[in-house]
Amino acid sequence: MLKGTYRVKTGFAEMFKGGVIMDVTTPEQAEIAEAAGAVAVMALERVPADIRKQGGVARMADPKRIKEIMKAVSIPVMAKCRIGHIAEARVLEALGVDFIDESEVLTPADPFNHIDKWQFKVPFVCGCRDLGEAARRIAEGAAMIRTKGEAGTGNVVEAVRHMRILNDQIRRLRDMSRAELVSYAKELGAPVEVLEMIQELGRLPVVNFAAGGIATPADAALMRMLGADGVFVGSGIFKSENPEKRARAIVLATTHYDDPELLAEVSEDLGEPMPGIAIEEIPQEQLMQYR
């Protein structure tokens, strides 16, 4: 009987496909997410929009908060640790969270390295902006990838940018000869072996969700149309006027992304979405995606 194997980790991520993972900050919000059909919740102290507004150092959530949320729902609970913060990750693993997001939404702890995720039994999801970043995270043992987008903005443009770039790079990789692949690995800063695996499969070897700026059912459907296996919704639900209705609408839109009539129906009368931010208005050093 083997626990924490790569198959057990990546297999678990496969179960999320077609689903929505929702950021929650309280047990009540977690229950709303579960009732709305979320496949998992991300337990946080503050949603990305508030982290962005309040500034300062954003850290792993209080274990008490995470435990309360784990108790409140039967669906898997994820939690975020800072990039490279091995100790926060060990704490989250000890708490029994089901997945760790080594996340750029929190303030990075290690300016050089990400966590060696092979050392853990709990699976990790990591963000990427392009194929090089995805391949490096996979080499470090990530069992799931999400495109980064720009969290807490309610603006889907960066999520689209990252998914478009990733798709384009995978498409180019598919037709490359061995020599071209090695050269491309150098250009991307990506391990050759991981690129070989991606070339053979024609896609990433792990599940890939979209994240960062998804605020409406149509945003979720758009990311699915671009090839995302599912979506993370951060501030988009509980910073909107009617979280229950919006959460359910986003869940339906993620499954039926190719049914415009259904999208029209579920998009109706959802109340105010979260306020959005134009990316150009954010000072370069405050963009989370470059972490």
Binding site: G11, E14, G37, A38, P76, V122
Partner: protein, 186 residues
């Protein structure tokens, strides 16, 4: 033979791939019309609560009930087993309830306790089995045939046209559990 895979949420691709390897026509099902002409239907792994809500909101619950009444075999893995069970001991909802078993959701524990092993399946032999936050069968009615156990715990069962497994044959390359289901489909 055409076999459907409920495709509102979950590890649909893995089931479709296994069926295709057996040279069976495999159809993802997200709409009622896609249930037509099926010789069997698979309910995949995923989140049972999410899949159930999506089935309801997509108008698929009643058509699947009709399919079952018409005698079309069903096979549920993990979440699919929870959806097919008559009783869920640690959850207030009941889903399809087509097989007379009581299951406990997430009985194998949280993800850090998920595991892979081998189980002995009646009539097949030893198969690799991946258990992910897996449900276990806590009670089985008199008409239910237990096909596999893990450490004394029933993890695979059949009653009439309904087959269920706690584990995920779709995450391994072993196709014998599918062959067993396809035999039920005629």
């Amino acid at each position: 033979m055409r076999i459907g895979v409920v495709a509102v949420q979950g590890d649909v691709r893995e089931h479709l791939r296994a069926l295709e390897r057996l040279e069976v026509e495999a159809v993802p099902v997200r709409r009622p019309a896609e249930l037509e002409g099926l010789a069997g239907l698979i309910l995949p792994g995923g989140e049972s609560t999410a899949i159930w809500r999506l089935l309801k909101w997509s108008g698929l619950v009643e058509p699947i009930e009709e399919l079952h009444r018409a005698g079309v075999p069903l096979f549920g893995t993990c979440a699919g087993m929870v959806l097919l069970a008559k009783e869920i001991v640690n959850w207030p909802e009941r889903f399809f309830g087509f097989i007379d078993i009581a299951v406990e959701r997430n009985a194998s524990g949280r993800q850090v306790d998920s595991f892979e092993t081998e189980v002995e399946v009646a009539g097949i032999g030893t198969v690799p089995a991946v258990f992910i936050r897996a449900p276990y069968i806590r009670r089985a009615g008199p008409g239910v045939e237990i096909l596999a156990e893990h450490r004394g715990q029933p993890v695979m069962a059949r009653q009439g046209t309904v087959l269920v497994a706690s584990f995920h044959p779709e995450l391994t390359d072993d196709l014998r559990v599918y062959e067993l289901f396809l035999k039920m489909c005629g």
